[in-house]
Amino acid sequence: MPELSNAPVPSPETLVDIYRRMVRIERNDDAIRQTVRRGRLTMPYYSARGQEVIPSAISTLLTKDDQICTIYRGIHDMVAKDMPLRPLWAEIAGRVDGTCKGKGGPMHLTHPESGIMVTTGIVGSSMPIANGLAWAAQLDGSKRVVIANFGDGASNIGAFHESLNLASIWKLPVIFVCQNNGFAEHTRYENATSVDFIAKRAASYNMPGYTVDGNDPLDMYAHAHVAIERARAGEGPTLLECKTFRFLGHVLGDDDFYMTKEEKAAAMAKDPLPALRASLIADGHATEAQLDKIVADIEAEVADAQEFGLNSPLPDVAELRRDVFAEEIAA
């Protein structure tokens, strides 16, 4: 695996921006879980708590025009990409003001305005479609890049292999971001994956592959920077394997029987969010008060979105006939 020489370093402002995005993900995630637990939302919820650094660092390098494809565990990717929270909440509540009028729900959120093009519940399917969006960017002659997010389990699916091969021969401006949290549902990484590092698989497709500490903002930023610059320069795709840990199991309510208490405790002790906060203060990049203000603003934004979403009206049943095709047809 190639190592980075002259790793790009985020500015202090960028580090604070990464922190802000991470807090927005964490506060939003917390509010969703509370609301589900209190019975005010009914939905399957796949928390990405613990994985905040990955999309937060990447998103500081993206423009509004850049696009992402993500998966059922992808609300963190969307929040990092500046998706407005009001329509997000209305959508997860199945309400009419949702991004998708309540027809997609938490596993199929879409918001092209923010560059969130596809959210899929089918493991591995973010990648083939991201390629097509990247092909369009190439044909448009634009500098737009596309991020394909997926899990470690997804790298064992045929679509992963087909997509890396195609992206490589077509030199597509796509970045394959594997968020390797060590588990696919209940199955441990090493019980289902033939290589010790997924990044090694990039070699088979003749593209750079990096194993990155997905909980370290500096490492994550540096590698995302290199991959995105490469894509923008027309040099083709990169595979980033970002090592992380999911703190809250596969799906909300999961009792984590498949992992040891020790490994979970050890991972949570390294929670990237308080760690970044501490280092921002220690390094003099921000004061306690500045960071508290960021948190308070985000809490207000989340509370407003929650209120809005839960109070949005239910969709009309006539929606069953709409958006099947561009034109409504009797069937």
Binding site: K101, T110, P128, I129, G132, S163, D323, A326
Partner: protein, 329 residues
Amino acid sequence: MTEMLKMNGIQAINAAMFEAMAADDKVLVLGEDIADREGGGVTGTMKGLSTKFGDHRVRTTPISEQAIIGAAIGAAMAGYKPVAEIMLMNFTTVAMDMIFNHAAKLRFMSGGQTSVPLTIRTLTGAGWQTAGQHSDHLEGWFAHAAGIKVVCPSNPADMKGLLMSCIADPDPCIFVENGMTLFVPGEVAADQGPIPLGKAKVVVEGTDLTIVTWSAQVMRSQMALAGLAEAGISAEIVDLRTISPWDKETVLASVVKTGRALVVHEAVRNFGPGAEIAATINEELFGQLKAPVKRLGGAYCAVPFAKVLEDAFVPQPDDIVAAAKAMMG
């Protein structure tokens, strides 16, 4: 008077592609072996396109059906109009996730925010002894997925006009070419333009019985006409052309006139598209039918290899005559 040209389905499809690509630079082509370097597609339907329109718009792909349809979906979402070739219809199974879970559903799941104006062209049809994994008619699978239009043309003029409509359509379409009809020449108007999707065509008028059919079975139904006439049966043949959404109006109007309906298709009869059509006719016209609606479809097995078995698998003209006679009772 419009000039009529004699051409087969391959030439008609090729003409549609040339016109569509020249008219709109958002039209793209991708698939295995489709560039001229590789021969312009397995039946040569894409010949000349890469030379004329360039490698960027016409791309030979690896043998990666999921990647082909996925790339086509993404490009379609970003404003292009890709035409993806899946060499044979059985190979769509490899890309079923992309077609069924994604192409067909993204508009609905996104509440109309994204659309997938994608055309999938594919080839199938019994009669070439390619057996179980190379000749299935799977239009019923796709018709069952809300959100994708299913087109099964039977002749060169329709192939040209319907393909042009598929490419222009804002939604995903699967365009199923039948190997038995592809090589048969027909008359195509020099200025043949788009033919609307979802509209059937009465190809033969009659008074006693309506045959509802499509694709190669239109040809076999026409071959049955002599036998039907001999039995004193005046048959009306309705070529459905689009399987989903299907043209209920034209079918029901014809059955009101004749009082009898026989649905004939090459797809396996069990749970096949004929069941949907027969059930609808029963629901709508129960009191007006002179006989129960009847279905003829492929046998409940994989398409067999041995010629004698393959012929028995597909409803043949004699089967159509026999079924019609039984309905006249």
